[in-house]
Amino acid sequence: MFDNVIIGQYVPKESVIHKMDPRSKLIIVLLFIIFLFLTRHPFILGMAVILTFTAFSRSKIPFGYFIKGMRFIAIIIFFTFLLHLFMTREGTVLVEWPLLTVYSGGVMEGSLIALRLFLLILMASLLTLTTTPIDLTDGMERLMKPLKKVNVPTHELALMMSIALRFIPTLLGETAKIVKAQMARGANFSEGSLWKRLKALIPVLIPLFVQSFKRAEDLAIAMEARGYNGGEGRTKFRQLKWKPLDTGALSLFIAFAVLTVIFRFLE
């Protein structure tokens, strides 16, 4: 049932992308997302597509695996496409029905948004697929370090995030187990009205919450028992290493960002 969820999933492989420093990956994804939404120019969009797919193919992650995990997101993308398709009133009229009119601008706008969303999700998934949660939070903590000067609890934020990420698979496993236990007691999640199906989820959600609170308590006690008291004076066992590879990859994406800005002014 939950075999195909890829959110927060890390796939261990030996690849260039896996070897990159989490900091460079984080900056790249951030840069990419910001500048992807700044542009409508076909040349830049083409470049974004090439960059994304090159990165993905270098990661050695099977594309089929990613596509399967995209099922839910594909629905969201499709609806966004439809919304833009019908709401945009620009360009020439393509189809005219009593209640619906499709303009050529709508097709353009819808496709543009769908493409952007798809690339965005591909890039963001690539980050989590190729970076262990530990590396990811280490990277974030390091990048947020300047904020510590203005009293932002960066260490605590990073820790909270790593715990949250760490427990996604656990929660999914737990959910699958409770779903099965209730199915064995005759719960039916796939039949009946929407209301009935929602109500069928109560026997799953309540035990799940109860377990989560219990687990949070246990975790807090275990941390205290091992003398955890925040980030003050804490040193790192794993040191992050910035490699030439990171500088190279980051330069590539900075070039992309610069080109985006140039093309925007040229328009």
Binding site: D3, K13, P62, Q182, A184, R185, G186, S190, P207
Partner: protein, 293 residues
């Protein structure tokens, strides 16, 4: 219900980088009306196997026949819903499935799902709660206010109240104190003996339980069935079991050592305290020390 698996294969996370073959195409037949224990090392595929028996998992290839139902890779959930009325699973730590406001309504949840009226379901819930040793005072309390052991018994009553023909137990005594373990096993055994057509499949790491209650033992290793037979047959191969990371019951260990060190030809198949004492007495008699015992 008779169980018959034919080339049963199951892959977890099929078609992903994490694909793992948990069941590697085995055949097995388990007759109706028996108490069968499934033993095997962690990761041998026991839990995966038993989840096929009421259709919670469907084979990746091959078939499982349970009673009149045959489960294939493409079997529809709707078809399996009926099967679950007759074949129930008690999962490991079943207390994690409790959710209702009161103990009574939690136990009645299953019977109501399977079509009983609320009144009938509650009547049956009361019956099985008492059988599980829950005092009527607790019926209206929240299941989350109970102790761990009580929660476990409420959860088990919730499964027994479905009145299944085939009861599948996945390490039902894990985490209980020794007395609680014995009581729990007795509860299941009494339930099993009550009607002739009832069958139990017990997954366990407690070799003593497997030996003591089972008509038959199924030994699993690395996703396939390695051995199937009566307890004394399976537990006579202590060396093989050890190689798979399993042990034999303590009583068998004791008698094996006695046999080894004395060189006496004697049976090592004794699974209760009485049987073991009998074997030791017989050994002493053979050795001509009977007058002293």
């Amino acid at each position: 219900m008779q169980i018959k698996a034919d080339n049963l294969t199951y892959k977890y996370m099929k078609n992903t980088p994490f694909e793992k073959e948990a069941l590697k195409g085995f055949n097995i037949t388990i007759p109706e009306g028996r108490f069968t224990s499934v033993i095997g090392h962690t990761g041998s595929g026991k839990s995966t196997f038993i989840q096929h028996l009421n259709g919670l998992l469907k084979p990746s290839s091959g078939t499982v026949a349970v009673g009149d139902w045959t489960i294939r890779a493409d079997t529809k959930q709707k078809h399996l819903y009926e099967l679950r009325r007759h074949a129930s699973i008690v999962f490991q730590f079943p207390e994690h499935q409790l959710f209702h406001e009161t103990v009574l309504s939690d136990v009645a949840y299953g019977p109501v799902n399977f079509g009983l009226s609320k009144l009938e379901a509650e009547k049956r819930a009361k019956e099985y709660l008492e059988l599980a040793g829950i005092h009527p005072d607790m019926f209206d309390r929240s299941p989350f206010d109970l102790s761990g052991g009580q929660m476990r018994r409420v959860a088990i009553a919730g499964v027994l109240a479905l009145n299944p023909k085939l009861l599948i137990l996945d390490e039902p005594t894990a985490g209980l104190d020794p007395e609680g373990q014995v009581k729990m096993m007795e509860l299941f055994y009494d339930w099993f003996q009550e009607k002739k057509e009832r069958s139990i499949i017990l997954v366990t790491h407690q070799m003593e339980d497997a030996a003591r209650y089972s008509d038959e033992i199924v030994l699993m290793d690395k996703g396939t069935v390695k051995d199937q037979g009566r307890p004394h047959q399976v537990f006579s191969k202590a060396g093989e079991l050890k190689a798979m990371g399993l042990s034999v019951p303590e009583s068998v260990k004791l008698l094996s050592m006695l046999r080894e060190q004395s060189g006496e030809d004697m049976s090592t198949a004794a699974f209760t305290l009485e049987e073991t004492v009998d074997q030791v007495l017989e050994f002493l008699r053979k050795r001509g020390v009977s007058d002293r015992v």
